[in-house]
């Protein structure tokens, strides 16, 4: 199962504003997006993040896995994570 390294120095506010000092780019995330990104920053692997989504949110495992895959794709597109 994949592990992801989140780019360093990301500033994320509770309301979902993300600033990436290395490029000067900023982003907005919704609450689930913040949740996932924070779990990844804690060093959780894909399985662990999906499990914590299922534990805390009203979502089944398949949906969580599908959405996680899509979200990781977006993070990669924006150079915010890379696979370890």
């Amino acid at each position: 199962m994949s592990n992801y390294i989140v780019s360093s120095n990301l500033a994320i506010s509770d309301s979902g504003f993300l600033f990436y000092p290395a490029t000067g780019e900023s982003f907005t995330l919704n609450q689930i997006g913040i949740f996932i990104l924070n779990k990844l920053r804690e060093g959780k692997d894909e399985n662990a993040v999906i499990q914590s989504l299922v534990d805390e949110y009203d979502v089944d495992k398949n949906t969580a896995e599908r959405d996680f895959t899509d979200f990781i794709y977006q993070l990669k597109q924006n150079n915010l994570v890379q696979e370890s």
């Binding site: 900023s26 009203d58 979200f71």
Partner: protein, 452 residues
Amino acid sequence: MDKKRYERPVIIKQYSGLMNKFGSSPVTKPMTEIDGIPIRRMVDEYGSPLFVFSEKKIRENYRKMYRLFKTRYPKVQFSWSYKTNYMNAVCSVFHQEGALAEVVSGYEYDRARRLGVEGRNIIFNGPDKNTASLERAIKESAKIHIDHFDELFEIIELTEKMNADVDVAIRVNMDTGIYPKWDRFGFNYENGEAMDAIKRIIKNPRLHLTGLHTHIGTYIMSADPYRVAASKLVNLANEIYKQYNIVLDYIDMGGGIPSNNTLKGQYLQAEQILPSLEDFADAITSPMFDLEMPHDELPTLYLENGRSLIDDAGYLISSVIANKRLSDGKRAVIIDAGVNYLFTSHWFNHKIVPGQQSGEFTENSAVYGPLCMNIDCLRENIVIPSFKKGDLVVILYVGAYSVTQWMQFITLRPNVIMVMEDGETELIRENENIEYINSLEKVPEILKNFSL
């Protein structure tokens, strides 16, 4: 323990320095019901995709438009443009409201007759009226609007053969200052062709000129061309009155008034830039007061509005099949209704809204239909919230030309229902099945056996 509400995770890059001068990004309000009926319930009962027409909205549109003209000119008659939507139930609503039938082929003529519209209440337009349908129209005293000289001479021959008289009008094309100039239908005003046709009709004892007709184009985004067109027809009518002492029964200004659908390549939303219906009514009716015949003999103003009366009374409910990411990271949503049902999406950016409450985060997306064809794209770019598989979307302003131009291609056409004024839903066209499609086909005997 109750779990927290879930929505798809989203991250959106912010761009500075490229602010939209017209303010914040559009907020997409979900549409969860049509005339008080939940769309989920309709889909459960009739399947997805599903065309829905609102009886209430059709009647409201008709009455509003009729009032706008009737309060500006004393004698007004609407006729329903069949090609815009000739579903029997839809036509019946318009006929109940008092509209005549405006048809452009023998097939449409037959539809109107089978619905119970008498020939004298049918306006027969169009460049292709075959001999059989002309004979029928003459016999049934329909209002024939002649499109070209070949048709005029055929009608003359037929009236001699049938020993019948016939009321006719001519379609007139003209320069109204717009592009494209629709000069392929009817007789031209500026070069004198229209007056020439009029003279030939008047000198024929079996033909009686009862009206003049024009239709200057479609989705006309300015009211002024109508003023020009009405003035030119009024000039012709005055000329006919002065030269031949003939008072026409009617002046038919056609249709072409736009709906609130936004054209592709149009920067602003249609509702922000189109003139109001009042402007169109003013432009069309004002020149009518230059008619020189006695006021108690004024011709009736005919209108053949189609799109402007039905577009916003039609909805297409569709289900999300899948979400995808394109190679550049852009989101794509695949839904179960495509260009096969919405031919109109080739030139309109149809408005698409979620069919259920959704998250506040929106993302620029492409919306594709279900066909395995690259052309099946309903919107190349639309800012919409995220969807789950099975979520519903509602496509707006699809009442005009959708259910007449739709194709049976790759898949079958869906149910069409009408939400009635009393709150009930009625099936007005059943979905197709393979037996129905195959019943029209024949396989030569020699091709029937094969082994693979």
